[in-house]
Point group: C2
Chain length 148, copies 2
């Protein structure tokens, strides 16, 4: 297997990684850019993107391409699943998934050799549930059906 080319441990890369590891909020690249700027005012958004991509490729962090337009990043590289709030777009880790929720592993499906799967839950977060007035049964259009 080919050895990748030498990567340098720049201050920018350290800052991005450190700040991401502090958070459990699954920030976007723009979020991390703002946070990193507090410590390093001249860091550029492009650098943040480049480093997040690189760290994800190295398996040090995870890039979550979850529903919604922006990618989010997770400082925890361990396998775990996520829930996204259909109202506020908040993303949380799922810690209480019933054991064996998914039967793993599946080796073949529809002629494909299966490498992995992506699973995410959609729901309403505690905050947003509190916020909805009792008695109101209005449903935002985008909440209509997430089960398919």
């Amino acid at each position: 297997m080919a050895t990748g080319k030498a990567q340098r441990n720049t201050r920018q890369r350290q800052v991005v990684l450190e700040e991401l590891k502090k958070l459990t909020s699954h920030p976007t690249a723009a979020d991390l850019y703002e946070i990193a700027r507090a410590r390093m005012p001249k860091i550029s958004l492009g650098t943040v993107y480049r480093n997040l991509e690189l760290l994800a490729e190295n398996g040090v962090i995870q890039k979550l391409e979850i529903g919604g337009s922006e990618a989010r990043f997770d400082g925890n590289p361990e396998r775990h699943y996520h829930v996204r709030c259909a109202r506020c777009e908040r993303v949380d880790d799922v810690h209480d998934l019933p054991g064996g929720f998914v039967k793993r592993p599946v080796k073949h499906l529809s002629g494909y050799e299966i490498l992995g799967l992506r699973l995410e839950f959609i729901g309403i977060c505690p905050e947003c549930r509190k916020r909805s007035e009792p008695g109101s049964d209005e449903v935002a259009p985008h909440e209509r059906d997430h089960t398919r």
Copy 2:
């Protein structure tokens, strides 16, 4: 529940829907634009986007926001899962998923009220498997780990 406003059955909408229903290839909006143009040279990309969005909201088709940059559309509105090829980005339906692969339903997770889930598989399609020379154990960077 509020009644939506009257929607018209335009020729553009018919063409987009008909062409999508003919396909099992999960085309992108741009794909459908090209296909629709064969029948209706003046149709615009904006119109294709607007109609796909509307048809998906009506539950007539599905919008798949699967890994990768572009949204894909599925003329089959029934619930089913998809496999994406990590090499060629092809997307297929999964017809042979073991029964009870996912335990449903889950009502609550991490304080969220769960509305649904998104599940997709990543693998190597039959074509791409055939294409890889036997004996080669090179692995494309993006295939590294899709299991987390």
